[in-house]
């Protein structure tokens, strides 16, 4: 019921977003000859008929893991558009409410808007039912809201880090919804995974966890061209989320962070 009503609201608010043949005037697939080099697209979506003249913002390193002190989320801040750094100081970890943050990966616009929609739906749920929706419920809600757009060029890969007991969920616009205790998403994730797999244990202190997260993002930005600039670290506990001061990774490349114990601000 909630899904259907939220989809209706989507059509009202956003006008032309629709999975049916839209009235935007693009000729349907039956009338235009499609070159065989284009991938076979679903009969319902007319979105792949118009090739876009500009690239979208993609490429990132985000990670999140659970430990005894709560949930830690970290991300770089580089937003790239096929080779150009569109924004060196973008925010990839977006707070959804006081006890839930989401890391974003994929197209910046999709992630920003869908997080906004999720915040709105969670707030409406809270007002209607008098209690906050769990992280598991929020992940399911996001996954079901994205489902009508499966097969379109929407690209959202988010990890929801919440506290109602400490939860971590990965939701992707292709329909994946996973629960776990460690996730890394994005073009730099293989590099981050190697650091995290080596160092993450349940018994870490907050300082140790923060330094592992920063190290993992730093290593990924060192090797991945599409990640870089700053690192954001968010920590979610029973008291809510707190944010560490943004740190410039250019300084880290001059001092070898792995060999020194740096004071975390």
């Amino acid at each position: 019921m909630l899904c259907r009503s939220s989809r209706l609201k989507l059509v009202c608010l956003f006008g032309q977003i629709s999975t049916m043949q839209s009235s935007s005037g693009i000729p349907s697939q039956e009338t235009l000859p499609i070159p065989s080099s284009l991938p076979e697209s679903l009969p319902f979506t007319s979105s792949q008929v118009v090739p876009l003249p500009f690239p979208m913002a993609h490429g990132t390193t985000t990670l999140a893991f659970m430990f005894q002190g709560g949930v830690l989320a970290a991300a770089d801040t580089r937003s790239s558009c096929s080779g150009l750094v569109a924004c060196p100081a973008s925010q990839k970890i977006l707070p959804i409410h006081s006890h839930l943050v989401g890391t974003t990966s994929g197209t910046s616009a999709d992630c920003a808007l869908w997080k906004r929609i999720l915040s709105r739906e969670l707030r409406l749920y809270q007002l209607r039912y008098g209690r906050r929706l769990s992280t598991r419920g929020a992940a399911k809600l996001l996954s079901h809201m994205l489902h009508p757009f499966k097969g379109t060029e929407l690209c959202v890969a988010a990890t929801l880090c919440g506290w109602d007991g400490g939860d971590l969920f990965y939701v992707c616009s292709d329909g994946t919804r996973l629960e776990g205790s460690l996730f890394s998403v994005g073009s730099g994730s293989p590099y981050a995974y190697s650091i995290l797999d080596q160092g993450v244990r349940w018994g870490l202190t907050v300082e140790e966890a923060t330094s592992i997260a920063r190290e993992a993002v730093y290593r990924a930005t060192h090797r991945d061209a599409y990640s870089g600039n700053f690192v954001d670290v968010y920590h979610v506990t029973s008291k809510g989320w707190t944010r560490r001061t943004r740190e410039d990774l250019k300084e880290d490349s001059h001092s070898h962070i792995c060999c020194q114990k740096k004071r975390v601000p």
């Binding site: 977003i17 839209s22 000859p33 118009v50 003249p53 500009f54 558009c81 616009a109 808007l113 379109t152």
Partner: protein
């Protein structure tokens, strides 16, 4: 208007070599060039754009500025496909009027930015091919710049360049206004006179190296006293 001969898609020239059977698909987009720039200061904001409207090898107009005044404290710069720029500004004007009639107050710069984000995203699957930058004063009277991508992702900046010469201008602004990668330099706050002079110099440089930028420069300076517009000539070749 789109002339398909000698035009291989928006922003690209057709390659003249034998490539076998080639399909010339109608594209609803065109690239009309132009550069937009916005800088936010302590109590002012500047939005500047060149005035050349081009398509392929032709210049359609030398007097087509890309800054549009929205309210007394907000100016938007739109570059990309001129058809979408016109429609988008019409839609924004209509929404501003609707807001004024419903709420009996003018929209603030931040509110216009948030609204534009949703307007752009409503066309996620057939986007407006427009690179927008909003410049204005926020509720506290400080300068604010909001930069957008064509599908609605936005954030507040201190300075931003958009359009055809953006890749050339943005590094220069990073260095001169953001003092990036400069060692041992005093970070002086930007005065209005220095900012206007910087904008003029930066566009003169852009006109040298970008073919789609030139003819004239329109600078809009937004302060609490209103919006002041100047036009400065640039290279016409």
């Amino acid at each position: 208007m789109l002339s398909a001969q000698g035009f291989g898609g928006p922003g690209k020239m057709k390659e003249y070599h034998y490539a076998g059977a080639v399909e010339n698909r109608f594209s609803p987009y065109a690239f009309n060039g132009g550069t937009v720039l916005a800088v936010a200061g302590e109590d002012f904001a500047i939005v500047a754009s060149d005035t050349r409207l081009s398509e392929g090898y032709s210049i359609h107009s030398r007097d087509s500025p890309k800054c549009y005044k929205l309210t007394d404290t907000t100016v938007i710069g739109c570059s990309g496909f001129h058809g979408d720029c016109l429609t988008l500004t019409k839609i924004i004007d209509a929404r501003l009027k609707m807001y004024k009639h419903s709420n009996n107050k003018t929209m603030t710069s931040g509110a216009i930015a948030a609204m534009l984000s949703t307007i752009l995203y409503s066309r996620r699957f057939f986007p407006y091919y427009v690179y927008n930058i909003i410049g204005g004063l926020d509720e506290e009277g400080k300068g604010a710049v909001y930069s957008f991508d064509p599908v609605g992702s936005y954030q507040r900046d201190t300075y931003k360049a958009g359009g055809s010469a953006s890749a050339m201008l943005q590094p220069l602004l990073d260095n001169q206004i953001g003092f990036k990668n400069m060692e041992g330099v005093q970070h002086l706050p930007l005065t209005q006179e220095k900012a206007v002079q910087l904008v003029k110099d930066v566009f003169i440089s852009a006109a040298e190296r970008d073919v789609y930028t030139g003819d004239a420069l329109r600078v809009c300076v937004i302060t609490k006293d209103g919006i002041n517009e100047q036009t400065i000539p640039l290279r016409k070749d």
